[in-house]
Symmetry: C2
Subunit: 300 residues, 2 copies
C-alpha cells in the first residue's frame, strides 16, 4: 500500500486525510496550524514539521490548500515538497487553482522527477466527510491509474479529464454553471415574489420540469427562508470565479454571465457577507429590486 502524505488539514483536508487513514494508508500529515495535525496524529497519522518531511516519507503527496500561491508555497523552497523529492514521487494537488498555475507547477515538479496530477474536487465538506467527493483529474493517464486507490478512498465520481490542467479547467466549468444557476434561480424567485406568487410554488413547478437544477433542489428551500449559513462561502466561490475569468482571458473566452455574478459576489463581500453561503446571491437581486416582496419599494 502506498505511503501517503497529506498537506492542508482544513475543512476539506482533515476529513479527507481521515478517510485515507480509515482506508489503511500509512499517512504522514502536515498543516499550517498545529491542532488538526495533533488530532490526526492521535488517530494514527505521523506528524511532519514541513512539506519536505512529508515528501521524504511518502510515495504520494496530496495537497489541498486555499489557492495557487499556497500550493506554490508548499511545493517550492528549502522546506517544500520538491526539496524532499525522490524517484517516483507523485504529487496530487486537490486544491482549486488556475489551470495555468497547475501546469506551471507540474512542469517545475517534472524537473525534479516528480509527477503531478491536478485533481480538484466538488461536493463540499459533506462530501469530504462522507468520502463521496467528485474528483476531476488532469495529468498523465498512468499517474491517474496509480492514484486511483487513493481517489477511491476520498470520492465517488472520479473522472480523468485530460492532460495537466484539465482537472482544474473542468472544475472552472463547474463553478461557472453553479454561479449562473444561482443567478437564474435568484432572478426567478425575485420576479415571482414581487409579483405576489408563493415562492414555494415556484420551486415546486420549476423543479418538476425542464427548469430543474440540483442547485435549486438543494438550495431553493433555504433561499426562500433566507437561511444562508454555508455551505459554500461566497468568498470561496468568488475566488474560483477569479480563476475562471483569468483563464477566460488566457484562452480567449467571453463569459458575460459569469462576469456579472462575479461582480455581485463582490458586492456581497463589500457588504461584509463573504462568509455567507453563495446562495445569498438572492439578496443582491432582492436589493437591486427594492426588496423581496410587492410591499417593498421598487414598483413603477
Amino acid at each position: 500500500m502506498s505511503k501517503v502524505g497529506f498537506i492542508g488539514l482544513g475543512i476539506m483536508g482533515k476529513p479527507m486525510a481521515r478517510n485515507l487513514l480509515k482506508a489503511g494508508f500509512p499517512l504522514t500529515v502536515h498543516s499550517r496550524s498545529r491542532p488538526p495535525v495533533d488530532e490526526l496524529a492521535a488517530e494514527g497519522a505521523t506528524p511532519a514539521a514541513t512539506p519536505r518531511e512529508v515528501a521524504e516519507a511518502s510515495d504520494i503527496v496530496i495537497t489541498i490548500v486555499p489557492d495557487g500561491p499556497d500550493v506554490e508555497a508548499v511545493v517550492r523552497g528549502s522546506e517544500g515538497i520538491l526539496a524532499g523529492a525522490h524517484e517516483g514521487l507523485l504529487l496530487i494537488d486537490m486544491s482549486t487553482i488556475a489551470p495555468a498555475t497547475a501546469r506551471a507547477i507540474a512542469a517545475e515538479a517534472a524537473q525534479h522527477g516528480v509527477h503531478m496530477l491536478d485533481a480538484p474536487v466538488s461536493g463540499g465538506d459533506t462530501g469530504a466527510i462522507a468520502g463521496t467527493l467528485s474528483i476531476m483529474a488532469g495529468g498523465d493517464p498512468a499517474d491517474f491509474e496509480r492514484a486511483r486507490p487513493v481517489f477511491a478512498a476520498l470520492g465517488k465520481t472520479i473522472t480523468y479529464c485530460g492532460p495537466s490542467g484539465a482537472g482544474q479547467t473542468v472544475k472552472a466549468c463547474n463553478q461557472i454553471v453553479i454561479a449562473g444557476v444561482l443567478e437564474a434561480v435568484s432572478e426567478a424567485l425575485v420576479l415571482g415574489m414581487r409579483a405576489g406568487v408563493d415562492p414555494a410554488i415556484v420551486l415546486q413547478v420549476l423543479g418538476g420540469g425542464f427548469a430543474q437544477t440540483r442547485v435549486m433542489d438543494v438550495r431553493g428551500p433555504t433561499m426562500i427562508r433566507h437561511e444562508f449559513q454555508p455551505g459554500f462561502k461566497i468568498r470561496l466561490h468568488r475566488k474560483d470565479l477569479g480563476i475562471v475569468l483569468q483563464t477566460a482571458r488566457e484562452v480567449g473566452a467571453c463569459l458575460p454571465g459569469t462576469a456579472l455574478v462575479d461582480q455581485f459576489f463582490g458586492t456581497l463581500i463589500a457588504q461584509g457577507q463573504g462568509d455567507l453561503d453563495h446562495s445569498a446571491l438572492l439578496t443582491v437581486i432582492e436589493s437591486l429590486s427594492g426588496g423581496p416582496t410587492p410591499e417593498d419599494p421598487g414598483h413603477e
Copy 2:
C-alpha cells in the same frame, strides 16, 4: 362530461385537442387555418367557424395561441368568445402571455359572467403529444377544481399557483431559469473547449454533481454536436423573455442575467436564426469568443 371548446390548433394545440377527444370530451374546435380543423373533425370533433360559435357550444373553452394580442383577438369582438358567453362558461387560456394581460382579460370576461383561468404549460410538443405537460394555473380555486378533469387529459404535473395571473407569473419564472441555465452551460462549454478539454467530459462531470441541470442533461449532448433543430425556438423563448422583462418593469424586479440572454437571443434572431432551438445560444458565446476551439482566433 363537460362540453369542451378548443381554439388554436397549432403545434401545441392540435395534439392537446386530440388528447381531449381521446379522453371522451365532446369537442368543438376552431383555428385560424383550416387544415387542422378538418383533421380534428375527421377524428370526431365538431368544427366551428368562429370563437363565438365555439363558446356557444361549450361549457369550457380552451385557448392556446401565440401571444397576448392573439388571446385578446379570440376573446373580444363580435365573433369572439365573449360574444358567445353564457352562464357558467369557463375560459382557460393556456397560451403564454403577460400576467397583466391575463388579469385584464379575466376582468373583462368576469363582466360577461365568464370565469377565466390562466394555465400556461411547459413540456413542449413532445409533452403535448404524450399528454404529460406541466400545467401552472392561476385564477379562482373553484374554477381550478372544475378544470381538473380537462387538465388531467392534457398534463401530468398540474399546479394551482394562486389568483389570476399567477400561472403566467410562474411560467415567466420558468423561462427565466431555462434561459439562465442555457447561458451558464454555454459559457462553461466554451471555456472548456477553448481550454482544450473534451466537452463530453465537461458534461459528464458537471452532470454528476451540484452543477447538474435538466437543460444540460437533455440539451448538452446536442449542443456539443451543434445540432440545433427545435425543440423550443429561439424566437418563442425571446417572446417569453419579453413578457418576463415587461413584467419585471411592472413589479419592480431587476433581472440583469435575463436581460443579457434576451439580448443574445436578439442577436440570433438578427442573424436569421430565430427558428433554431434556444440552445443555439451556445453559438453566440462561441462567436463572442472567436470560435469554439483553441485553434480559432481570440487567444490573447
